[in-house]
């Protein structure tokens, strides 16, 4: 009977404490812990506490990402351009600005926009030509992370520049962009041809100087 009553008592004790809400009680049957179990207090927390936690977390993440993005953009903006001038774009903007205060023929503005588009195509082609070599140099460690970033940023800038030119073309003459892109491509190639043609004279002068040539007025060599 004694043993039975003990068992029952234990059993009650077990029942009475262990499933009252805390896992700590799973080691019951051992009287040592029963005192500690009694001291566990449930602190009532507000419904808003986890919400506040979540809000703080999300806000801090958003702030961090915004700050990081701004820092990255600032770093990218501070990097020097691969192309050292933006005359085509600047000329277009200047002419557009001028047309608001002064009477400028509409086709002059169109010409400046075509020149800007052609320049964007030229830069796109140059970057595409350079792309595989730069990637190879980056992978082999010849150029650093900063130049690689510059190259990637420049590619995006040039693409954006061409897209912007197309939008401007649409604004100038609705429905023009399709033809505009074709014209820009032809202009780009023809301007390259023209630049090569016009460099003939300058190169001739350099050759005369470097090789110390004596020429007659008709271009033949002096004997």
């Amino acid at each position: 009977m004694d043993s039975n009553s003990t068992f029952e008592g234990d059993f009650h004790g077990f029942n009475g404490t262990s499933f009252n809400g805390t896992y700590g009680n799973s080691t019951n049957g051992n009287g040592t812990f029963t005192g500690a179990e009694d001291k566990v207090e449930t602190i009532p927390i507000s419904f808003y506490t986890p919400v506040l936690y979540a809000v703080i977390l999300v806000v801090s993440l958003v702030l961090f990402s915004r700050h990081y993005k701004q820092q990255r953009l600032r770093q990218l903006a501070e990097q020097p351009d691969i192309f050292d001038e933006h005359d085509a774009e600047e000329l277009y903007r200047e002419i557009k600005e001028m047309s608001q205060t002064q009477k400028v023929h509409e086709k002059v503005l169109k010409a400046a926009l075509l020149n800007r588009g052609a320049e964007a195509i030229r830069r796109t082609l140059k970057l595409k030509e350079l792309g595989p070599q730069i990637e190879l140099m980056y992978k082999s460690g010849t150029i650093g992370e900063d130049y690689w970033e510059r190259f990637k940023a420049e590619t995006k800038v040039v693409e954006a520049e061409f897209r912007d030119s197309i939008q401007e073309a649409e604004a100038l003459q609705p429905g023009w962009p399709k033809l505009f892109a074709t014209l820009c491509q032809e202009i780009c190639f023809n301007q390259a041809l023209s630049r090569r043609y016009h460099s003939i004279l300058a190169r001739k002068e350099v050759c005369i100087k470097e090789w110390d040539l004596q020429l007659n007025s008709d271009g033949t060599l002096k004997k």
Partner: protein, 201 residues
């Protein structure tokens, strides 16, 4: 004001202070090239009555250039080499000046390369080796890498007594066209001249 615009001629130009500033910054050449390009394009577009103009080449200009070039060829047949060279040079100039940048590139390239080849031959025949050399460089810069271009360049350099450059040109030509007999003969000639220049003979 950073740009000057002439309402009558519809041309843009740079004010003095901007020229000075660009000169100081070393960017004047690029700026002038761009301005020239815009002016040329504007002049062409203003002449177009169709707002949706296409890259189609202008027939009138094509006729003018062709007739000028053909008159040069006619003089060549009469063995008037200097006159033929003048007319062909004028035809090349006309093509460069009158053709608009938006006219089809493929046609413009073909046209100028064809005329340039004749101009180079005439320049070499009349002893204008430096002019011929510059025109050959132009052909090479526009992607023409044929054996006869290398032969003419090596020949022009040889006549200008630039033996080292002529040898380099010949070697380049021979690497692309190893069976070209004229290039091989030129290479021999250049080597002989180089040896003589270096006092070996």
């Amino acid at each position: 004001m950073s740009l000057l615009y002439n309402e009558n001629s519809k041309k843009l130009s740079l004010p003095e202070e901007r020229i000075e500033a660009a000169k100081a910054a070393g960017s004047l050449e690029a700026l002038e090239i761009n301005l020239e390009q815009v002016n040329k394009l504007a002049a062409g577009i203003i002449g177009e009555s169709n707002p949706n103009f296409t890259p189609q080449p202008n027939d009138e200009r094509s006729k003018m250039i062709k007739s000028m070039f053909e008159s040069g060829l006619a003089q060549l047949k009469q063995q008037k080499l200097v006159e033929a060279l003048k007319n062909i040079t004028l035809a090349v100039e006309l093509a460069q000046r009158s053709r608009m940048p938006y006219e089809a590139f493929a046609i413009q390239l073909q046209e100028i390369q064809f005329m340039m080849r004749h101009k180079i031959d005439l320049s070499l025949l009349t002893g204008r080796f430096l002019d011929a050399l510059q025109d050959i460089e132009f052909l090479m810069n526009t992607g023409m890498a044929q054996s006869d271009v290398f032969i003419r360049k090596a020949d022009a350099l040889l006549k200008l007594r630039q033996y080292q450059d002529a040898a380099v040109c010949c070697e380049r030509g021979l690497s692309l066209f190893p069976n070209e007999t004229k290039l091989k003969a030129l290479m021999h000639e250049i080597k002989r001249n180089l040896a003589e220049f270096n006092g070996e003979n």
